[in-house]
């Protein structure tokens, strides 16, 4: 078990949330709260960087949906970056690969 760390940083294009470690039943709520607490101006982009995500269960997927709902409600778009294979498989199986905008390279999005 790797502890979950969520690091928020502001970039010109919007906000980057780096989610690292294990995202599961015990801590998925933290990701929702992190997304809610960060003020995202309308029209900006929320980038969720999963390159350091070690594990994600169905509760983690629920949290990603909640974050997406939150972003859409504030008039922003959400992008998942560097989705690990296991999480990508879950998203495919649940049809959510059609819903989430998934990209491989974070740099073009964040302007860093």
């Amino acid at each position: 078990m790797k502890p979950l760390t969520i690091t928020a940083s502001h970039v010109p294009a919007g906000l980057v949330l780096e989610v690292a470690g294990d995202l599961d039943y015990t801590n998925a709520q933290r990701l929702r709260h992190a997304a809610q607490e960060t003020a995202l101006p309308p029209g900006r982009r929320l980038v969720v960087d999963l390159s350091e995500l070690e594990f994600c269960d169905s509760s983690g997927i629920t949290a990603l949906i909640a974050v997406r709902n939150h972003a859409l409600a504030t008039g922003s778009e959400m992008v998942l970056v560097a989705v690990p294979a296991g999480t990508r498989r879950l998203l495919h199986m649940t049809g959510l690969d059609q819903v989430f905008d998934m990209r491989d390279d974070p740099r073009s999005l964040t302007g860093r």
């Binding site: 629920t62 949906i65 909640a66 709902n69 199986m93 649940t94």
Partner: protein, 424 residues
Amino acid sequence: MSSAAGDSGSGRGIPGTDAAFSALLEDSAEDLYESAPCGYLSTLMDGTIAKINATLLGWLGLSRDEVVGRMSFSDLLTVGGRLYHETHFAPLLRMQGHLGGIALEMRTAAGPRLPVLVTSTVKTTEAGEPLLIRTTVFDATDRRAYEKELLRARRAADEARRQAEADRARLREALAVLQQSLLPAVLPDIPGMETASHYHIASDVQLGGDFYDLFPLDDDRFAFFLGDVCGKGPQAAALTSLTRYTLRAAALHDPDPAAGLSVLNTVLLDRYTGDDPRYCTAVAGVLERAGDTTHVHLASGGHPPALVLRGDGRVDHLSTRGGMLIGALPAAQFVSVRTALHPGDTLLLYTDGLTEARVGDSRELYGDEALESFAADLAPASARRVIDALTALLHGFGDGLGDDTALLALGLPARTATGSETPE
């Protein structure tokens, strides 16, 4: 250092200490014997009491004249104590010459029993002949009270443990009943079809989140569904209940399975809003009989693909890729697929507890491919045989099976040589 050495004897220099020490030196041996904080008595070898101190007489409420030369040691004991004295204490003492720390009870003149700890030593002559027995008696009332308290605490702990176990058993029983209410008591008989199911619950103190059902729509058609709600426990059970009755009602209203999943999607989004999205994955479908063939029309929302074990040994997986999680998104899409079952074919529905199980030393995912090749080795197989084989497979996963797992198999029995088509 030198001053420390000089201080070493200075304790006696404290005012008043000298006087107290002198008083102690004048304390007579006789007074020490009579008024010691424990009882003393000396008996002849036959037990007759020859000497007893005032402390013990005071505890027992007896006078010296009543006791000395008239009573034996065992006369001071309760009936139980006397018995123990005769059978154990006295023989052992004679054998060993010393016996210590024996718990006995003495009778007091006032009535209450006095718990005591007894130590005895046999005094011998120079020639080694036993002469008399010296006995010290300690009042063990406090110690007995302590022991009683310990016993009471232990009884209370035992009782609490029994109560907790009973509560746990009741909870387990209630959960089992509730769990059963989320599943069909028995699968209905479908003419010309064999059905079998299995439900593995990962925990006996947590309600499972998997569900399935099979029920008639009319004379020729049956509807079925199988799925997995997110989460566990009472919230998951409430979600399962809502899901099950919604899918049942929707199927009776409109047999198109994708329409049923859309209704469920709307209901779940309406019920669980905002910050607490709750969703499920499910396969729902309709079986329609036409002669020897049963047509299957099924739709999936985010659920692993159904498998068909064909009568000729092939395995088809009914891809419903693109069907989305139910209850997560307003514009969710569900994907339908059709197939036909012929005699010898078996349709298998399962939840991802099976494919997400961790197997082997490296705790690898069991996975879709392993399941398909397991099914390929099994095919052709009846519904019962498929469920039995998978139940054994799940059992073999042991600890690796971390989640609930539901299995439902619907098969058309193979034509047998002894049937209507008699070989010539």
